[in-house]
Amino acid sequence: MGRFQVKKQDTFIDMTPMSDVMVLLLTFFMLTATFTKEEPVAVNVPGSVSEIKIPESNLMTIFVSPAGKVYMVMDNPTRQKDMAMELIDADMLDLNAKELEAFANVPTFGTPLNTIKSWVNMEGPKRNEILTKSPDAGIPCDSVNDELKEWVKAARKACGENMRIAIKADKTTPYKTIKNVMNSLRSIDESRYNLITTLKSGE
């Protein structure tokens, strides 16, 4: 009987090239990864034609929310700790060793100096809630009470001359707050800083 022989098909697919490519991709992404820091409020940064890239390290960002609240972001926990220590030495901040360690690891901070202690002692989600919702959140930086000045001074002491200051603000942030920030930077002779923007496609 002429029986037709069904060829047995091999269902095993060779995954090696695929896994090769995958590992390559993975390595690429792992090496180029720079994680975005957690920010309390989303900001929509204005576009500009400027093509200067932001410095990679030793950067202190002053973060201004659309509502005009001022926060600070440091790029390195060790430096954040050094900065806090400067303030403790100047008797402006009162934190014990454990609180200092906790403070060094917060991504963003921005409450008046006298409430930092209680703020650090809160749980993570509660901290963010205070930053975003509380009416007293934000580093005071008006002419009456200028704490931003003290923070920047301490940061400059802790991070040295090479520290760059950047201002990151939302499109709709009123100029009034920006003016206050600029004034307090000017009052401590920090006259060079960067304004963070995104790339705007040419017109």
Binding site: M22, L26, A166, K168, A169, M182
Partner: protein
């Protein structure tokens, strides 16, 4: 073929199943892809005058000339400008963008704009694929550009944002400084004279 002896060697399957590994790697790749920010944000470098009084006085006398153009930024995306000295100037209203403030500034800075255009054609003629030479050209271009921008006779811009204006307004105006090759500009506060001027000539209250 005759088999020797009775020992049957079992044929081992040399293939290893890669599927779980690929699964895991896919997951990791997805994670890193979503978490990275490949595009670094741009930045604008700005140098503000220091607070010291002597510098301030000097700056003020310098900018109060016919070559100055003062830009006042008001709320609701309104923008005004006047040229030269304040007491004899006429305040004009304009808009943001290509047809508005840029036209005004380019007209004011026509000399520099022409020079830059000339420089650009010169650079195009010099175009090479040699990366070393290209780097040199770029350096040369930058030097020339800053020379043109800061040459004598180029206008000085005084930017006065009012409290009610927004950050994007300020950035837009600073951007125009770059677009129009203005090397000398300052950010100043709105004072009472400016308020009176806006009130008198345009009938608006400046905050």
């Amino acid at each position: 073929m005759a088999r020797k002896g009775g020992s049957k060697q079992k044929k081992m399957n040399a293939r290893v199943d890669f599927t779980p590994m690929v699964d895991m790697i896919m997951l990791l790749v997805t994670f890193f892809m979503l978490c990275t920010t490949l595009l670094k944000p741009q930045t604008m470098e700005i140098t503000m005058p220091s607070d010291k009084d002597d510098i301030k006085q000097e700056n003020k006398s310098q900018v109060q000339t016919d070559e100055a153009i003062t830009i006042i930024i008001d709320k609701d995306n309104k923008i005004y400008y006047f040229e030269g000295k304040q007491h004899e100037a006429k305040l004009q209203e304009t808009a943001y963008g290509k047809e508005g403030i840029r036209k005004v500034l380019l007209k004011k800075n026509l000399n520099a704009a022409q020079k830059v255009a000339k420089l650009k054609t010169e650079m195009q003629a010099k175009f090479t694929s040699n990366p070393l030479q290209a780097e040199k050209n770029k350096q040369y271009y930058k030097e020339q550009l800053s020379k043109i921008k800061n040459a004598d006779g180029t206008p000085t811009a005084i930017i006065k944002p009012s409290d009610a204006s927004t950050y994007v307004n300020l950035i837009d105006v600073l951007d125009e400084m770059q677009n129009c090759y203005i090397g000398k500009y300052v950010i100043d506060k709105v004072n009472d004279t400016d308020r009176a001027m806006v009130k008198e000539q345009l009938g608006r209250d400046l905050e």
